[in-house]
Amino acid sequence: MDRTILIVEDRDSISEVIGEMLTLNGWNVVGRASSGEEALEMFRERRPGTVLMDILLPDMSGLDAARDMLREAPECRIFAMSAMTEPGIRERVLDAGCRELLVKPFRMRELVGLLEDDL
């Protein structure tokens, strides 16, 4: 089972705590990117099995980055996260090819549960 994961989140405090938490739960965090471009670069170098992607990134939409990643590696599992709660967000996330949307704030068991149920 591929437990490599790339975290894409521009807010450092969130990225750090998610990284620590996933490591605690047996995941191999191969990188933490804070922009769409950085995420695509890390993705191409390290080929993680899973990506955790924030929708709102400073340089592009996380969903556009997700589409680019899936074009190159359709087997990759991408989970989106967002603080937006507007109607239609989840549909857009699924349309972009992501597996599911996590709405912030979420508990550790919600995130870990989602990642591991899908494995």
């Binding site: 969130i14 705590v17 620590e20 709660t85 507007e86 709405v103 912030k104 704030p105 508990r107 068991r109």
Partner: protein
Amino acid sequence: MDIKGEIRELKRILIEDRKEDDGSPEIPLYFFEVDADGNFTKVPSILERICGFSKDELYLLSLQNVVLVEDRARVQEALERVLEGERIVVAEIEIFSEKTGSHPVELIILPLKKNGSITGAWGAVKDIGSRKDMEMKLETASSIQKASMTFLRDYVSLMSREIRQPLTTILLTLEMMDSGFFGEMTAQQKEKIDQLMALTDRLKSILEEALSASKNIAEEIKLDRRMVSLRKVIRDVLREKQDLLKERNITVITNFPEGNINVPADRKTIVQVVSTLIDRSVEVSPRGGDILVELEKKGPFLQLSVADSGEGLSEEAVETLFDRIHIDRERESGHFKEGLNLYMAKRIIEKHGGRIWCESFPGLGSSMLFTLPIEKEEE
């Protein structure tokens, strides 16, 4: 001349024949009299107010003088026909206005008879200009209100998003502390961590409620009315709140009338109202307290009341309870959420044609009541 009869006839021409059924308040009539040349023999007070002439000045003028140039020919022709015995209604004309230059009115002119002969004319001036001003002001006020509600909705959405970000870090860090990631915790430390996590969850709920409420406020309430059993609504809401009631050890006593009374209502929004009232009663009642939910037929209405066993509210608090934002200095929790939810409840009930209010006695608890009109009753 039978003055009363003529006035009745005049009102009939104005009101019944014209079918002014738009709900606007009755527009007052200002009566006048003129001689055969149109000179005022009785001056309507409205002309002093709008034209800016004194009564003495107006008595030196004629009806044609106070009307704008472009409408004078119509008024002159109307006078001539009235002097021949016709009754004339002159639709919107403009009279001179000292402030704005012109002011729209409606003129109704009838023959003035003395000793069987027509000696002049009389009638009424109907001020439609003020109604138009008021309609415009109401429209402007309504647009401003809509814009500010939209702003509130968007602002709350943005604020909600911003607050969720640090809440994510706080919640996850607390969970990691709880799981011992930063070292073994004492029992007391674990308890504190649990409390903080519960509070963070509460913050998350408040955000969701505020967001939902602000969206509801900004949107117009649309009702899908069907025949709804309020008894069933209450039972469904209580069933949904079972865990909460159990946790607070609250007993709910219900008192329903014989037979099933259905009301035409939008079930979803009425469930929201009942849920709000029950949530509030649970929150203000002490642990182990009672809540009484009653349904009663009151004439053409069905009345629902939810009485709590709390401490009651002051008169001042009751007056502002359904305002959009109210500050309850007597309690520590639930201001924002409660304020918005009760405001929404009021909007919903009033949209249904009902009324919602609170009866409270400090020290004895409060009752939250609302009425809904009944259309048909089933045995």
